[in-house]
């Protein structure tokens, strides 16, 4: 079920939240929409879900316009950022909400709920608890099971991992990928976290100030961003030593004797990698290396890089 957004425009109080956004997203793929705050990504998601009405353009599912369908009749379900679990219903009843609306009752409903809870890594002992008695991660899993219970064609995810701590985020990220693959779902996932977007996406959509900045495979966009803005949204860029308008990813710089001269300002351990800030002739640049850099603040070092990793952008970008 292909999701096509055609020339979508939306204005709030005179401010363009979305400006002529067109993109076609294939079914059964994981699409991440990235952008900084206020870039229009959540507005886009709410338009697809049917909570907002666009001022211009059309949303099509398999070629059929769904603009006139109210949210409750669209074959998409949303995983909300704050979960929006119904506080008066138990976890199992939350999951059973959509199947009940479809007329499923009794033992069949019980089996379906148990299966869905198991699919997201929860057992039925948690099913009788109210949302307030569940942890953040458990609430997120219940919300995912609830969204899946209505058997949507597309799952819309509004920064679903933003409120979780890092280990839980990684765990749920893997769960989302598994669920998507097993069910052949189309997923539209809004996030501002490049790591999350790069890890999850088959297709990456980048928005900036309401405009579509880039669409493509995540690795390709990371390595060859079409603009400086997109490049910076997807990860850190640093100036190439001695060049004013050439950029490179910090992990593509390496410390090597005989390279471009520089002096170490500081070093920092980031856990799985190290970061070195180096003062060079043209200013400062950052080097990221997988292990301890073997230098300290004040040391004179040389910097080397592979010319194929250098990025040049048109001035307008």
């Amino acid at each position: 079920m292909t999701l096509a957004l055609q020339r979508i425009g939306k204005t709030y109080a005179g401010r363009r939240a979305l400006d002529d956004v067109s993109v076609e997203l294939p079914s059964s793929r994981y699409t991440c929409v990235m952008g900084s705050s206020g870039s229009g990504k959540t507005t886009l998601l709410r338009i697809v879900a049917g909570f907002e009405r666009q001022d211009a353009g059309t949303v099509r599912l398999d070629g059929e316009a769904i603009d006139r369908l109210p949210a409750e009749r669209r074959p998409v379900h949303t995983l909300f950022q704050d979960y929006a679990l119904f506080p008066h219903l138990s976890a199992a009843d939350n999951v059973a909400f959509a199947p009940r609306l479809l007329g499923i009752r009794g033992a069949e409903l019980g089996r379906k709920v148990a299966r869905l809870l198991a699919d997201v890594g929860l057992d039925m002992s948690k099913g009788s608890r109210k949302p307030a008695a569940l942890s953040g991660g458990e609430q997120q899993r219940v919300a995912l099971a609830r969204a899946l219970a209505g058997e949507p064609r597309w799952l819309l995810l509004d920064e679903p991992l933003a409120a979780l701590d890092r280990p839980l985020r990684a765990e749920l990220r893997r769960l989302l990928r598994t669920v998507q693959r097993e069910r052949g779902l189309g997923c539209l996932h809004v996030t501002h976290d490049p790591e999350e977007a790069l890890a999850l996406a088959d297709t990456l959509v980048v928005l900036g100030e309401g405009r579509l900045l880039a669409v493509g495979a995540p690795q390709a966009l990371y390595e060859r961003p079409p603009s400086l803005t997109v490049g910076r949204l997807l990860g850190e860029l640093t100036l190439v030593p001695g060049a004013a308008e050439e950029w490179i990813r910090p992990e593509h710089l390496r410390i090597a004797a005989g390279g471009a001269p520089g002096r170490v300002r500081s070093t920092a351990c980031l856990g799985d990698r190290w970061e070195v800030e180096v003062e060079v002739q043209s200013g400062a640049c950052v080097v990221r290396c997988p292990g301890p850099p073997g230098c300290a603040a004040g040391d004179a070092i040389g910097l080397a890089w592979d010319a194929s990793h250098v990025l040049r952008f048109a001035r307008a970008s």
């Binding site: 879900a49 049917g50 909570f51 109210p70 949210a71 409750e72 009749r73 074959p75 998409v76 379900h77 949303t78 909300f80 704050d82 929006a84 679990l85 119904f86 506080p87 008066h88 909400f97 959509a98 009940r100 609306l101 479809l102 007329g103 609830r146 969204a147 219970a149 209505g150 058997e151 064609r153």
Partner: protein
């Protein structure tokens, strides 16, 4: 997918038609008929209106209302910091008639002083209640930051708390002023003929002087004040419902003195109420209780149901329209509905009282529902996203979530209807078929011992209802 679509389509058609029908009925009851009544009054033949006298009453009424609003707002802050919302609401629900009789029982002579005390005993808790709603979203982190930077309490209040509370002060000021202008009962009882409000002038123009054109001019003046105030109320309500991420400050104690002042008139009723023997006046008022409870009950249930449905279902742009009946004094509804009903051959009585009270009841419930449901917008989106149409959302989401709020709002509306003598003075007919109107008449007839007893009864009703609401809310 197909099953889901068919199911949703089946339930989504009739609620739309129902909503349109309810909308049409609302416009007729809340605006159409009252407007027709005012026009009919204006078109009636009669003597000259006496514009200068009316303007003098209007100016006097506005000046006193404004002065009382300023005092009520000044008292409201400490009261809001000291007293919890249920207790403030209980104070607000006490009938103005009971407070007016209580002010006289304190030994105050009828006039400005007794009127002011009776009004302030209700206005200060009302303003405090509105401030308290706003205080729930108090920006504690900003206050902490200001304190950290060396700002003292007064500077913190001026720089942070005052701008935050200003919308609530504006709404409270507008509402207190409107209530002052529209209060005929307190002016009639505690004012003792020395203090007039526009609403009392309207009542006398219709019921005593039979001067419909003057009544139309007064109603027009009240409507002219009410329309912009309804807009301001709607805006304030939206502000109050927004941004609840703050934290209330520590309770203060200074407001307990203000609370004592507010309950003083009611406390003054206790002695005479218990001391005076049962008399014929008691029997007369007792006979009016069943009809009063029935009409108030019907108006409250209808009002709470319609108001909650409107609060949950209507978009915010409907706010001013829904809140206009709250800004219009009950006396305007009473006079207008009486006029129209007489033209239609419908005599005064309980039915007319219910209809005249209904717009105000709906507006109260609407305001309460908007405030209570502000946090639930996300849940409604979530239910829609899962395929719940209007009927399914009402059944599975709103009913279980909002039933306690609906019951509480129905109880508030019920207390308001039982204590009302503003609209029912017109619609209950000669002799008064409702308790509050009967009590006012008996009081004027000199049954001095009966009056405090029944006024205390009226004043105790909100306390009983608050207790009942507490029991219902208990799991």
């Amino acid at each position: 997918m197909r099953g889901r679509t068919l199911h949703s389509r089946a339930v989504s058609l009739s609620p739309t038609a129902l909503a349109r029908a309810a909308n049409a009925v609302w416009w007729v009851v809340a605006f159409g008929v009252p407007l027709a009544g005012v026009v009919s009054l204006a078109a009636a033949p009669g003597a000259a209106v006496g514009g200068s006298a009316l303007l003098a009453v209007g100016a006097d009424s506005v000046a006193l209302g404004a002065a009382l609003a300023v005092v009520a707002l000044a008292l409201a802050y400490p009261l809001a910091r000291a007293v919890s919302a249920p207790w403030l609401l209980t104070c607000v629900m006490i009938a103005p008639l009971a407070r007016a009789i209580g002010a006289l029982q304190l030994g105050l002579a009828p006039g400005t002083g007794a009127f002011a005390l009776a009004r302030l005993a209700g206005d200060a808790p009302l303003a405090a209640l509105l401030l308290r709603v706003r205080l729930r979203s108090r920006p504690q982190s900003w206050l902490d930051a200001a304190a950290d930077l060396g700002a003292g309490p007064w500077r913190r209040f001026r720089a942070i708390e005052w701008p935050h509370l200003r919308p609530a002060y504006a709404v409270a000021g507008a509402l207190v002023l409107l209530l002052g202008l529209g209060d005929a009962t307190t002016a009639a009882v505690a004012g003792g003929g020395k203090r007039y409000t526009l609403a009392l002038a309207l009542r006398e123009a219709v019921l005593l002087d039979a001067h419909p054109r003057r009544a139309a001019v007064i109603a027009g003046m009240l409507i002219a004040v009410a329309v912009p105030c309804a807009w301001a109320l709607a805006r304030g309500l939206r502000e109050a419902a927004r941004g609840r991420s703050g934290r209330e400050g520590r309770p203060g104690r200074a407001g307990l003195g203000v609370l004592a002042l507010c309950v003083l008139p009611i406390a003054a009723l206790i002695g005479p109420a218990l001391a005076w023997p049962w008399s014929a006046g008691d029997e007369l008022l007792l006979s009016q209780v069943p009809a009063t409870l029935a009409s108030a009950g019907v108006a409250a249930i209808l009002g709470a149901g319609l108001g909650c449905a409107a609060g949950l279902g209507l978009p915010p742009r409907w706010g001013p329209t829904m809140l206009l009946p709250l800004a219009l004094p009950p006396a305007v509804y009473g006079a207008a509905w009486l006029t129209v009903a007489q033209r239609l051959g419908w005599g005064p009585g309980d039915g007319l009282t219910v209809v005249a009270l209904l717009p105000g009841q709906v507006a109260i419930a609407y305001a309460g529902a908007v405030l209570a449901a502000a946090d639930a917008e996300k849940l409604a989106d979530s239910a829609r996203d899962l395929g719940a149409g209007l009927a399914a959302r009402a059944r599975w989401l709103w009913w279980p979530l909002m039933a306690p709020t609906g019951v509480a709002l129905a109880l508030v509306a019920f207390a308001y209807a039982v204590g009302d003598a503003g609209a029912s003075a017109f619609t209950s007919g000669p002799g008064g078929s409702t308790l509050a109107v009967g009590l006012e008449i008996v009081g004027r007839g000199g049954e001095v011992g009966v009056v405090p007893r029944w006024a205390l009864g009226l004043a105790s009703l909100p306390l009983l209802l608050a207790g009942l609401a507490g029991l219902i809310r208990r799991p």
